[in-house]
Symmetry: C2
Subunit: 159 residues, 2 copies
């Protein structure tokens, strides 16, 4: 057996309870980069963009880069069934519009964001910064981010 001489640095982080970790989780620490499209982009191009960027939700912005809509995979799939003119329909016709968009801010807790997604039955929230004219989209929180956070609790605390 290896002799135990003196103390060894275990490499562990200072102890914080799982509870404190959970309460301390902020949207800003787990958010992803948002993917946005303009209002006049076609549904066809939006679908291609969604595949290229590999996201489940696109945010739609106006000429001033302010949030005006949200497009989910479900919205795009609904429109694409049996529709051969996808290149002629602009996304603003099918998107979910403000003020019906549920959003969050980067200083919100991840628990608050998770609660909104479960209550509204949506997979993603835009992270916004508001000003007098509207909301600028600065991030994206998804159930994937929440799942990753759930796992990180376990990893950080070596469960």
């Amino acid at each position: 057996a290896r002799p135990r001489v003196g103390y060894f640095y275990s490499g562990k982080k200072p102890v914080q309870s799982v509870t404190d970790s959970m309460i301390g989780m902020k949207v800003r620490d787990f958010q992803s980069i948002p993917v946005v499209v303009a209002e006049n982009v076609s549904v066809y191009d939006a679908i291609c963009h969604m595949f290229l960027e590999d996201v489940g939700t696109l945010f739609v912005v106006n000429n001033s880069s302010l949030l005006t809509g949200v497009l989910s995979r479900k919205d795009l799939l609904r429109t694409s069934i049996g529709n051969t003119e996808l290149d002629k329909i602009p996304v603003h016709v099918i998107m979910t519009r403000m003020p019906n968009i549920t959003y969050c801010e980067k200083q919100d807790t991840l628990l608050q964001a998770a609660k909104k997604m479960i209550e509204k039955q949506i997979d993603s929230l835009p992270v916004v910064v508001g000003n007098e004219e509207g909301f600028e989209v600065v991030g994206r929180i998804t159930k994937t981010n929440i799942t990753a956070a759930f796992l990180s609790l376990s990893d950080d605390h070596e469960l």
Copy 2:
């Protein structure tokens, strides 16, 4: 002020740490009902089924009710762009097939299931029971279930 006489029952559950709650979370306690389709169903009908059942993933089974494939919204959206003959394509042509399907079992921990979804970059896992011939699908675990579990930790512990 109200006089404090004797002890009051607070209504709280016996204390268990958040850590213990997390480790103890099992797939069986959070899983949803699986939605399955047969292999020869058309892509068009599968999309309709997905909307009717309001799920993001369909599991495909053979005549013996054993798992042979998985269909995500992404798979169906990819096929539906610019394709006018969705009613003529059977789902077995486009589905992800065994043995390339990542699954879990009901006695697995939720942490194990979450880890698989993050590592494989998928939104859902079939919960299966294996026998000599294959896997029977008995449930479905999604990132929504994980998000709900994350919230329930906070609710149960009144964070």
